[in-house]
């Protein structure tokens, strides 16, 4: 019975997820030349190119450190924000939570475009900086712009798991610590933070993964010269028509994603399973 | 002629036997309770009768018809679930009418029957309300009306009063019994509360670890428990350990430094037995004038009764006396304890 009920979904996912992924894996091993296009012969040349070429190293490295920095900033802003929100009274709490999370439902293109206006040479940010005498600063088309916009898009993904973690906390536990003469900051550090760690880790995983594979934001805010993994794949596919190479890059990204996820799971299992269940 | 017969009903979950060879005959119009601690198999038995659990072996025969393997929606039984299971998205009227709707009864007749059922449980003014607008007691009555309106051959009640507070529970016990007597439906109730089972049932089936340990009228169950378990589960009892010293017209049991004469057949000399003595059968008398003396180690005032814990040569005994009857000894006081011979029961 359950198989009958799951059949339509299984058929759909099998044919439009599993099969395409398999085909793409095969594709990444196909030969490509500008003259003849994609051939059916197999080669490891594309993987060799990506793993060996400095150019691609640079792209992966940039993608990595941009994503890592974004993740750290999201933790630094998102976790405290979730905490502040959890201590608000209704109706403010509901309103603020909504304002922080609702941008999730607006297309990333719109948000990226908004940032390109804000951070542009004539944008409000530069105007404010100029009025402070700090001269026009080039933000747009640098990593800084990409990071700022990524933080904006990814912040809800950090707030949600931390918020969920905070909700599971028994407020009486904090009170117990206070009654035992702990200072408020100590309570935060020794009582709240350890319990919220799984939420922070979960959020970090999501933020890092999404940042590493982000497309629209590096595309609109990074400009033609600032490439990240997703925009490189786009170039290979739509401009160079070198699908096998693009596939290789994308699959390496997927692999990196999976490795990060598995190590996270392993880490959480080991350190938090006993205490958190 | 039994109306509902459960014969050798057994249920295994994997290797775990939850109901073991249960047999029970229920007469038409009878109110029977399945009583026991959690895990004794009473709810599983009810589920098998209802059709939500498949019996591993045994049979269920209702009014001559074998329903052991009939599907749950073809048995036509009335069921009141522990959580009431009212349809939250339907009004009280629609909830009660649902069973009649499934039987394709025309609307006019349905309306009449539902109104009758609601009047019987005193919920007429709430026919358009929704479950979330009702109190716990009101929801329970809707569930009852919904089960009875279809005029089922048997009514099954799964811990129907456990979610109500104490005062309401008492009221509902009487209501339940009153309605059942009026309508005359054969009823099986599952409960872990022995006062509940005893106060409204015609017969009580005491279950333990999947087996039936005793089936009796409430009074006999209380006065003549057949095992230590039943004696302790149904009401409170003092259990005095002893040995059979002699047998004859009456058995002589030695316990501590004393000897007791009690009714008992089939006992072997030297066998270890327990004597069951209900706390309310012990009277306070002047020290030295009873069967034995004791110190009051603690006493508790329970409203209508006093409970005194006595330190005696037979161990700790509990004594209960009604408030207002006689003077209750103070803590630490030494008094005599007296009881009649027929107040003691021998348990193996």
């Amino acid at each position: 019975m359950p198989w009958a009920l799951s059949a339509p979904a299984l058929l759909l996912f099998g044919s439009l997820l599993l099969v395409p992924l398999a085909l793409t894996t095969v594709l990444s091993f196909h030969v490509f030349s500008h003259a003849t296009g994609v051939q059916d012969d197999f080669t490891l040349a594309h993987y060799a190119a990506v793993l060996g070429d400095e150019y691609y190293h640079g792209i992966f490295w940039r993608t990595f450190w941009v994503s890592a920095l974004t993740t750290l900033i999201c933790i630094a802003i998102g976790a405290p924000e979730a905490y502040v929100l959890s201590r608000m009274r209704d109706p403010w709490r509901a309103i603020c939570l909504l304002v922080v999370l609702a941008p999730l439902l607006v297309s990333v293109v719109v948000r990226a475009f908004g940032w390109s206006m804000l951070l542009g040479p004539q944008g409000p940010v530069n105007q404010a900086l100029q009025s402070l005498g700090l001269g026009p600063v080039r933000i747009l088309y640098t990593e800084a712009a990409v990071i700022i916009a990524l933080v904006h898009v990814m912040l809800p993904f950090m707030v949600i798991p931390v918020w969920t973690s905070l909700h599971k906390l028994d407020p009486a536990v904090e009170n117990a610590a206070l009654s035992l003469s702990a200072a408020p900051f100590t309570v935060l550090r020794r009582i709240v933070l350890p319990q919220v760690m799984p939420g922070i880790l979960s959020g970090s995983l999501i933020v890092f993964g999404l940042s590493a594979s982000a497309f629209a934001i590096p595309g609109l805010l990074g400009g033609r010269r600032l490439k990240m993994v997703a925009t490189v794949v786009y170039d290979e596919y739509l401009h160079e028509l070198n699908w096998p190479l693009g596939a290789a890059v994308a699959l390496l990204l997927l692999l990196a994603n999976l490795v990060v996820m598995l190590s996270y799971n392993h880490f959480v299992e080991r350190n938090y399973k006993k205490s958190m269940g | 002629m039994s109306f509902l017969t459960l014969a050798n009903l057994t249920k295994f979950y994997g290797a775990n036997c939850v109901v073991n060879d249960l047999s029970l005959r229920v007469d038409k119009g009878e109110f029977v309770s399945l009583l026991g601690p959690s895990g004794c198999g009473k709810t599983t038995t009810l589920q098998m009768v209802a059709g939500f659990a498949e019996a591993t072996s045994g049979s269920i025969v209702l009014d001559g018809r074998d329903i052991t393997h009939a599907s749950a929606n073809s048995r036509g039984l009335g069921i009141v679930f522990q959580s009431y299971a009212l349809f939250p998205h339907m009004s009280v009227f629609d909830n009660v009418a649902f069973g009649l709707e499934m039987r394709r009864m025309p609307l006019a007749e349905r309306r009449e029957r539902v109104d009758e059922a609601l009047a019987m449980v005193h919920l007429e003014p709430h026919r358009t309300s929704y479950p979330r607008e009702l109190s716990g007691g009101q929801r329970q009555r809707v569930a009852l009306a919904r089960a009875l309106v279809i005029e089922p051959p048997v009514l099954l009640l799964d811990e129907p009063l456990s979610n109500l507070d104490a005062k309401l529970r008492e009221e509902m016990q009487f209501e339940l019994r009153h309605i059942q007597r009026k309508v005359g439906t054969t009823t099986i109730m599952v409960t872990h509360d022995q006062t509940e089972a005893m106060s409204i049932s015609d017969r009580v089936v005491v279950m333990q670890a999947g087996r039936v340990t005793q089936i009796d009228e409430p009074f006999r169950l209380y006065e003549q428990p057949q095992s230590r378990f039943i004696s302790g589960f149904v009401g409170k009892a003092n259990l005095i350990e002893g040995r059979v010293a002699d047998t004859g017209a009456q058995a002589i049991i030695s316990a501590g430094p004393m000897l007791f004469e009690v009714d008992g057949v089939g006992l072997l000399v030297g066998a270890a037995v327990a004597l069951s003595l209900r706390p309310e059968r012990i009277r306070f008398v002047a020290a030295g004038q009873g069967r034995l003396d004791g110190h009051v180690s603690a006493r508790f005032f329970l409203g209508s009764q006093w409970l005194c814990r006595m330190d005696t040569d037979l161990g700790e005994l509990a004594v209960v006396c009604t408030n207002g009857d006689a003077r209750v000894p103070a803590e630490g006081e030494r008094v005599g304890l007296q009881w009649s011979g027929d107040a003691m029961r021998v348990l193996r």
């Binding site: 359950p2 594709l27 439902l105 990333v108 206006m117 993964g209 595309g219 | 279809i150």
Partner: protein, 264 residues
């Protein structure tokens, strides 16, 4: 509950401002009477909104996105409801694997899904087909419906279904009259969430759409990389308005905070 210090509240205000900034500027610039991206200072003008409605490509891609999202959300719901019920109610070998599979589009980068599906489409000649595009979107949005269906089915009191059975209802009647109405808020919320995610989607769509099936976000992306003028701002403002309307609907039906955070 302890109160927040003024510092905490100021911090919160900054975060709020940060989250709203790009949306506010987009809406502000959309009303500019100028030819370049400027915040209107003298008066507001609707000229760029009119330009949006006059721009055939943009309007066409809006309709593409709308039909795409409607179809994808509906199909995803039809597929996810039985699967979600199966996963919640039956313990069967492979259940965890199936659950992971159905939720996997949430962890597989849309970039990877985009090129993978593009490859499949090119092999079977489905590249310009609207129908196949819908199916690609269905895969992406199904997890959103599935999560909400599973949440609704998990918190479900099954004794109501047993009560209905005992009163003589057939299994199908139980599903239709009891189960479905009780999980409907979850299903409806899931549908809306799927709708908005399909409508917004750009990364996978940019690979999978063809000139005839270009969606609004993809069109806007391409436009934004080529030229920057207030037309883009007006189109963005309209999208923000559209999203806001959907959010209000979502809140009425299910509760926006429940959807975003997952239950109080």
């Amino acid at each position: 509950m302890a109160k927040n210090s003024p510092l905490a509240l100021a911090f919160n205000a900054c975060v709020i401002a940060f989250m709203l900034a790009p949306l506010l500027i987009v809406c502000a610039v959309a009303f500019t009477p100028e030819n370049t991206l400027t915040i209107p200072s003298t008066h507001l003008s609707l000229r760029w909104f009119k330009a949006v409605f006059a721009h055939a490509d943009l309007v066409q891609s809006f309709w593409n996105s709308l039909w795409l999202a409607l179809s994808a959300a509906t199909l995803a719901t039809l597929v996810a409801v039985p699967a979600g019920l199966a996963i919640t109610r039956h313990a069967f070998a492979g259940r965890d694997a199936l659950n992971a599979l159905f939720l996997s589009p949430l962890v597989i980068p849309h970039l990877v899904l985009g090129i993978a599906i593009l490859r499949s489409f090119s092999l079977i000649g489905a590249t310009g087909s609207f129908g196949w595009l819908v199916l690609a979107h269905v895969v992406i949005v199904t997890p959103y419906v599935m999560r909400l269906v599973v949440a609704a089915a998990t918190g479900f009191d099954r004794s109501c279904e047993q009560a209905a059975l005992s009163l003589g209802a057939s299994h199908f009647t139980v599903f239709r009259r009891i189960t479905l109405p009780m999980i409907l808020p979850g299903v409806a919320g899931g549908w809306l969430l799927a709708f908005i995610n399909s409508f917004d989607e750009v990364t996978m769509s940019i690979f999978v759409t063809a000139p005839s099936t270009v969606t609004l976000p993809v069109r806007m992306y391409m436009y934004a990389t080529e030229s920057i003028d207030p037309l883009m701002a007006a189109a963005s403002a309209l999208m923000v308005g559209f999203t806001a309307a959907v959010m209000v609907l979502l809140d009425r039906l299910y509760g926006l905070d429940r959807i975003l955070v997952g239950g109080k």
